[in-house]
Subunit: 456 residues, 2 copies
Amino acid sequence: MRKEMFEHEITILRDTFGRLLRRHAHTNLTKLIHKTHPADLAVVFRYFMDEEQIQVFNIMDENERTAEFLVELDDTMIANVLERESPERISHIIQHASANDQSYILGTLEDEHAQSVIDLLKTEDQEEIEELMGYPEDSAGAMMTTDIFTLYQDTSCGDALKTLQDQEEAEMVFYLYITDDDDCLVGVASLRALATTPSETLLRDIMAKRIHSVRPETDQEDVAQIVAQYNYLAVPVLDSDNHLLGLVTVDDVVDVIREEATEDFLRMAGAGKDREILLKSSWENAKARLPWLFASWIGGIIAATIIGRFEHMIQSMLALAAFIPVIMGMGGNIGTQSSTIIVRGMATGRIEIGSEMKILLKEMRVGLILGGLYGIMLGIFAYFKFFDADPMLGVVVGLSIWCSMLIAAVVGTFIPMFLRKVDIDPAIATGPFVTTSVDILGVFLYFMIAGYFLAL
Amino acid sequence: MRKEMFEHEITILRDTFGRLLRRHAHTNLTKLIHKTHPADLAVVFRYFMDEEQIQVFNIMDENERTAEFLVELDDTMIANVLERESPERISHIIQHASANDQSYILGTLEDEHAQSVIDLLKTEDQEEIEELMGYPEDSAGAMMTTDIFTLYQDTSCGDALKTLQDQEEAEMVFYLYITDDDDCLVGVASLRALATTPSETLLRDIMAKRIHSVRPETDQEDVAQIVAQYNYLAVPVLDSDNHLLGLVTVDDVVDVIREEATEDFLRMAGAGKDREILLKSSWENAKARLPWLFASWIGGIIAATIIGRFEHMIQSMLALAAFIPVIMGMGGNIGTQSSTIIVRGMATGRIEIGSEMKILLKEMRVGLILGGLYGIMLGIFAYFKFFDADPMLGVVVGLSIWCSMLIAAVVGTFIPMFLRKVDIDPAIATGPFVTTSVDILGVFLYFMIAGYFLAL
């Protein structure tokens, strides 16, 4: 009954599926599907070939469990699986799922295909789905569950407990949401508080009145922030009149936090922000990665032009060219370190507005320390290796490393801070800006210093 | 009562604190502290100067709320705040906190200081804390809550409900954990199932028997994986005899997911893995970042040596030097994109074992597409700009960009996959390995191609 060896069990499951699929053992496959947790099925499903996916999905029941399985897949994969399915089969699969799962699944389909599924659902479901699908992607409205119920504030705890027991829809009840005469949310009580209070006590006397809530248009990242900050299990979503529209639950927040981290990773590396990039074709993949490379291409042309201007210096001392890579590399790396620390510090709330100057000064000190250290080390290497060319080359190289690392640390710190100030997502633009500007500045400085000390 | 404007309210709170602190308005400060949520207090606390932090912490009550506030701070900050406090005050603050909060707070102190606090606590608390502090850092044991209770499988639902109502300690009850005659965990039931079942039904008849559990030594990342995968609110921690030791709850998992993402970000950028690096001194900061820079320094020396070997080629055609930066830059960037996509894909379970070859081939295609595109663009630029030097330079530069981007995409994909195969955390080593090897390979290839086409 334990499942400590998570990966191990997934491997076994995958092998069993593989064997049954090769033998086309339908009856056994059906049994195995029934026995497997929808979330596990979603994990092993990714390993299947396209034809195997079709084979498995074809024998899956048209019920809620299959809907649960679907929502655990990546969007692109849901779309692939459902593409060939009839609107009838899809509507059977999702008809008993929660409204947010329904709209999530339908959101992956082509508009026309989705509409023909919606037309087959019950009128009340249709309205709810259309409302949910109307909220912006990545908003609280798009991810909230609407299977909720509220209790009136003058209800007694005993009556509330009875009402609760009759609720079949609301499967994950963490808190009780309590409303006033105008149906506005005025308080919340825990299930535990309800169970441990004398049954005649009114809800208004046990409820907490200070509630954090969000609007349907609130960005999912802000919702995640609130849930993480206060250790909540759910956050209510209210309209402008304080009516309860739905709940965002912690299990969805866990997914959001992972997704947002993935998007930030990709953005920082200039690889777009599509967390399903691995599922996309090579062309789409290349298209997403093109823009950052363009920035670095422009940077390269500028660097080439700068070096072209200093050609006469290289001519007098060929050894100068040998150190271009290390000056760029050291600068680029310390710049990436700084910008990553800053971007992540801002994302996790560790860099407060107002503390920028202090952090900039600290990064400057780090740049001075590391630049000094590696500058001396590389200077000594250059001195001995290229002593014949000019003994001063060591000084030039060492000083250039020092300056370019110092500047890179400052640029790497400043750019994300500046971007936040002007309301651009620091993760998006930091990568290209930092590496490109550090490359150009580093090369330029190197030749300026060389010109000064070597008098070429 | 809404708190949608999260940042806005924090700003107001911070300003109010600032005003009261400047006026040394003790009475009002005390009132404000009482009114503020411990989690909010932890957020604004970061903005205070050292002396302000001392001033605020001095007037905080010696109670559970203060302990709650402390655990919301970063480790380094807890240590700073408590450093000057007497063991007596610390023991008063933490005496009513949960055992895992106690051991978490004590874990930030110097061993001797922590021991003198432990000596002041109740014997039963002492034992529990010492047990928890004995588990490895970042393990399920170190993060589990031990305020739990179990129910015997032959208990009726009615009796279970009564027992539950008497439990004051276990504040966050999500599931009921059910044991057999040997006190082994055999099942779990939801609070809702309990409330909606006739009171004479036995727990064994309503409990789910298939439970995912972890061992105390399980890594927190694996625990997070299970909670995220199955949308659990808590995972039981069992010893080797299946006795329930504690629970890891979803709110702690939310923190783990964020922390692990931050650590991966820093590791990928070669900036260590200390997520509190921003709170550390410049020296410690520099020390954490030194190793990656060393890798890139070694790479730079190798590149310098390679270029030194080809000095005669630069001498015959100075323009060759001008394109060193762009060849390195383009290769480095596409390599970073590939490795980021792969490392993150592995962390989120999107890259399955067995699918490596397929992904490698796809990245190769992406490298061919993007390398071809940018190679042609740069080749044309080089052709026109340096036509006088040699019309073939355009071909050399274009072909070099193409080859180096293709190789970079392959290296950036292969290295993290290889590291996972040999059980090294791909995030740790990917950064330095990829950029350094891509730099060296790129420069080497460039001069080989130049030697072939230009016949220098």
